[in-house]
Amino acid sequence: MLVVLGLAFLALPHVYANQSLLFTMMTFIALAQGLNLLYGFTGYLPFGYVGFFGAGAYGMSLLVLHAGMPALLAVLGGGIAAAAVAVILGPLLRLSGAYFSIANLATSQILYLVVANPALSPVTGGPYGLKIERVFAPEAAYLTMLAIMLIASAIAIFFRVSRFGLGLRAMTEDRVSAEMAGIDIVRARLIVWLVSAAIAGLAGSAYAWSISVYYPQAVFGLQISVFAIVFALFGGVGTVIGPIVGAAALYALYNAIGITVPQYFELIYGFLIVVLVLFLPDGVLSLLERRGIRVL
């Protein structure tokens, strides 16, 4: 399946000229999948997921600008930067449900305000953002995002089939019983949190590399969180394929109608969310499962 996904995005640029659309679609697949790792497998819904995307973008760019790091290495650095932010935010995991989601949202906004702060302009570019056009290399960035998307999906497969994943399932079903089964809950959820943050950070890094000139809002915009959440939910969280299908389908839809007639898009989007919540809380792929087809 990963091979199919990989080959598709390798081949598509040859038959479809809008490579930047394909790139952004991969970005959202990676983000939806990264968010799925956390939400689908532990139940923590990070409204501020974009914070890790932005942290990755800035981490990567600053490493290029101030440390003269080669772009690909800096992408890794961006992933690590996002994971470092996740370590600092680790205590958020003690909150549950909406409290976690909202606190996470707040921290992503704080991060945004910090990097966009004019006083930090010499370092972060403040409100004017960053330029790393010196390392501009769209082909390499495209392949990097492809790899990140595949890695995120490979991790989702691991969560579905491994012993570790069995433990995660137990944790989401019953916390206390999971402890009584001998599972180190705190460690397991911290691992997932870091991995999920790192995926967003890597995606943010490759995204920054690809666009190479950006304002803070471009990598910290709340819409990015919303898209990742809706895409993942639409396909179905807790599966591997759900977020891929959800992101690909809805992002394509967004491009078909969202950009030309945004007012209709908002309408359709709102409608979709309502339908989803009311009738398909487990995503469109649950339609298959209801027919007895097992979805990975």
């Binding site: 137990a170 402890e179 009584m180 001998g182 705190v186």
Partner: protein, 234 residues
């Protein structure tokens, strides 16, 4: 004495919202021993189990397992050291099958076990592929027990497993608990059904309003005026 005890509590206390629910609780047990824990509703029996298993942290006192202090350890670490329990209101992984429930504990419990044998022992072999949520409450309690056994406990805390069972079922659960004790597992059995308790042990402690009111045999307990008063008053 303290070095040979399997489990030893000293001065254990717990408060909820300022209210003492367990106070100055102390006792000790040897391997293979069965201790009945009785007391009126709300006397702190389940809380005592939660404190020993690490579901709640103690506010005071110490708990030793084979001489090692464990009262500050996370619950999962106590599981690895050999403490496990069942729940008064059973807590299976409802969407998992019966077999998966036991497999999780076998995988993470830190010891090699025969999950098939365990399901046989608790009488759930025929239900292995059913979702745990579809079992009756009684069977879910047995599944809790199976999951606990899958971590190879040295000390097993059993919270009101008899409630709701018919006489035949009670007899077979009593036999199972006796067999576990013969294997060397120490058991603390919380139970309202004194007849059931009488089948498996003659050593009980009686809690009243969070305090240890009495320790001795069941026969002595039922002749003890304060114990009788506590049950009638509670």
């Amino acid at each position: 004495m303290s070095s040979e005890a399997l489990i030893e509590l000293k001065g254990v206390g717990k408060r909820f919202n300022g209210l003492a629910v367990v106070q100055d609780l102390g006792f000790s047990m040897q391997a293979g021993e069965i201790l009945g824990l009785v007391g009126p509703n709300g006397s702190g029996k389940t809380t005592a189990i939660n404190l020993i298993s690490g579901v709640y942290a103690v506010d005071a006192g110490e708990i030793r397992l084979q001489g090692q202090r464990i009262e500050r350890l996370a619950a999962f670490r106590r599981v690895h050291l050999g403490i496990n329990r069942s729940f008064q209101v059973p807590k299976p992984f409802r969407a998992m099958t019966v077999a998966e429930n036991v497999t999780v504990a076998a995988e993470f419990g830190g010891s090699k076990v025969d999950t098939k044998q365990i399901l046989d022992d608790v009488g759930l072999a025929a239900d292995r592929d059913r979702p745990a949520g579809a079992l009756t409450v009684n069977h879910q309690k047995m599944l809790d027990l199976a999951r606990a056994l899958a971590t190879s406990p040295k000390l097993l805390l059993v919270d009101e497993i008899g409630a709701g069972l018919n006489p035949g079922e009670l007899a077979s659960v009593a036999d199972l608990l006796l067999a576990l004790a013969r294997r060397g597992i120490a058991l603390i059995v919380v139970e309202h059904l004194l007849k059931f308790l009488n089948r498996i042990t003659d050593r009980v402690i009686v809690l009243n309003a969070g305090r240890l009111l009495f320790e001795g045999t069941l026969a002595q307990a039922s002749a003890h005026p304060e114990v009788v008063a506590a049950f009638l008053g509670g």
